[in-house]
Subunit: 306 residues, 2 copies
């Protein structure tokens, strides 16, 4: 299968790089790092074994890229308005677009613009960051859950999972709602709370009051998921997520980095869409609604503080 | 009536100063400012008319003070453990102790130590701050609601209100629970939110998301008060409090000043006691429980940040 990677940042470089390193035919779209990576290649520093791609197939626009069987979108959701222009050159009749993105709602919103497109959600449990041009650091974890949203050819998803597995990535298919909401169980508490309290995951869990609050927020997400009919997310998943986080190195979630570096935060997809969906099912999320309001305030006032 | 003022700070200096300025017999306990005020007097800069007390009756310990008919305690609740030692020299059989303090619970907790003491709550709606030794700035408002907790001589409270009125202070008696909880409707949202988001009251109300959140938090306090049987606090009181705050100059509540100046915050009385009382009545306050946890975190980590 031919792969296109849209968004060659901390996440796209890792998954695309692993596939290319394993011999898959991978085509990378780059923006600011295009010239650098074209000349110097792509470096993946990884806890699972570092590697360098000397001559990755790189492009600075999708019009010059070949059509792909799988397009992996690893952009922040704050840039999803670009997809309407970026995607068409990459698509044939049975292209699968895998959105490795956080939050609730990217597939239905994109489907409105591309009614016949095969879409799937990719939920990455990974700690990685871009450290300099053409270089990412994969600190820990790395598995990916794939949830089929509208792909009518199950064989494509099977092949995708087989390629990921061959490349050394733990990948499995889970029910779509379960895939998206399970990631929210981690994302909604930790992304916002590290921003609101200007701190890190380990500090939030070291303090008994915020640890209890994080746990309650997780139960709120699980309650919303259950109200919306997501299968297989039980209260004990909150304990698993806290346990996993305790075993992680001190970590600043992506929203904390976005806030600190004055990039837009993914409040719409990670918070507002989730809260709105839960409301439709008659479920309210007071802790996370409060966090959403605090984040909106911080985003609006951030620039006045400097 | 003879008055003793314990806690001659932003609030105690104003109310005690107004009573003394109007000719009442007022005795002030001072701590760090004792020498300065003994020599230079007490200056009250006030939107209602500034004045100077040239020779106030000041003391640096209660043992040398006369017994009082009314003891006005205007300490922060974080210092209430001192009252066990401070009060006895000031008390006769019918002394009324008026606790001008924020939060829920100071009277029952003090009553455990002084079972026969007459106690009342004083809830001050006032913006004032201590600007330098022996000097306070009264910016706006200034009325006081008095709630009788255990005073068996109604005439004392009547005389107290008459003295306040004569001194130019709007004072009225309200039911005890109503007095304490009405102030909480303002205190619980604004004190914690200005600390959590490092901001001021006017900025919180200028942002539509936090304004809505503040309103919801107020409704949560009103719900708790109603569940506990507090009379005469209706949902429309939240609108009144927001309207009042919009008319105030930009303001940093006392907890924000405490946080910024590394003094202990009144989390126990303003948050934890209120939340615990509400729980006893089967009412939960998720927004304010979350704020409490954020404040506990910020207090615990404040010193590590510098």
């Amino acid at each position: 299968m031919k792969y296109a990677i849209i968004g060659t940042g901390a996440v796209g470089s890792f998954y695309g790089g692993k596939l290319a390193h394993a011999g898959c035919d991978v085509h990378f779209l780059l923006h600011s790092d295009y010239e650098y990576v074209k000349e110097h290649g792509l470096q993946v520093d990884s806890c699972d074994g570092s590697f360098h791609l000397h001559s990755p197939q790189v492009y600075n626009n999708t019009a010059s890229m070949p059509q792909a069987d799988v397009v992996i979108v690893a952009l922040k959701t704050t840039r999803n308005h670009l997809l309407k222009e970026l995607l068409p050159p990459l698509l044939h009749k049975e292209t699968l677009v895998l959105l490795i993105q956080n939050g609730i709602g990217p597939e239905p919103l994109l489907q409105e613009q591309f009614p016949n497109l095969y879409l799937a959600a990719g939920l990455a449990f990974i700690c990685s960051s871009k450290t300099e041009p053409g270089r990412v650091n994969h600190q820990c974890y790395g598995s990916i859950n794939i949830g089929n949203y509208s792909c009518k050819e199950p064989a494509i998803i099977e092949q995708l999972i087989a390629d990921f597995t061959m490349a050394g990535i733990t990948a499995c298919e889970v029910e779509y709602m379960e895939a998206r909401w399970k990631k929210e169980v981690w994302n909604m508490p930790f992304n916002g709370m590290t921003v609101a309290l200007d701190t890190r995951t380990d500090h939030l869990l070291a303090n008994p009051e915020t640890r209890k609050l994080i746990h309650r927020q997780m139960l709120e997400v699980i309650g919303a998921a259950q109200a919306l009919g997501a299968k297989n997310i039980e209260a004990s998943f909150a304990d698993q997520m806290i346990e996993m986080t305790l075993n992680m190195a001190p970590y600043s979630p992506s929203m904390k980095l976005d806030y600190d570096f004055h990039r837009p935060m993914e409040i719409d997809y990670i918070y507002s869409n989730a809260i709105a969906e839960a409301h439709k099912a008659g479920f309210s999320m007071p802790y996370l609604e409060m966090l959403e309001a605090q984040l909106r305030f911080l985003e609006a006032t951030r620039n006045n503080k400097e």
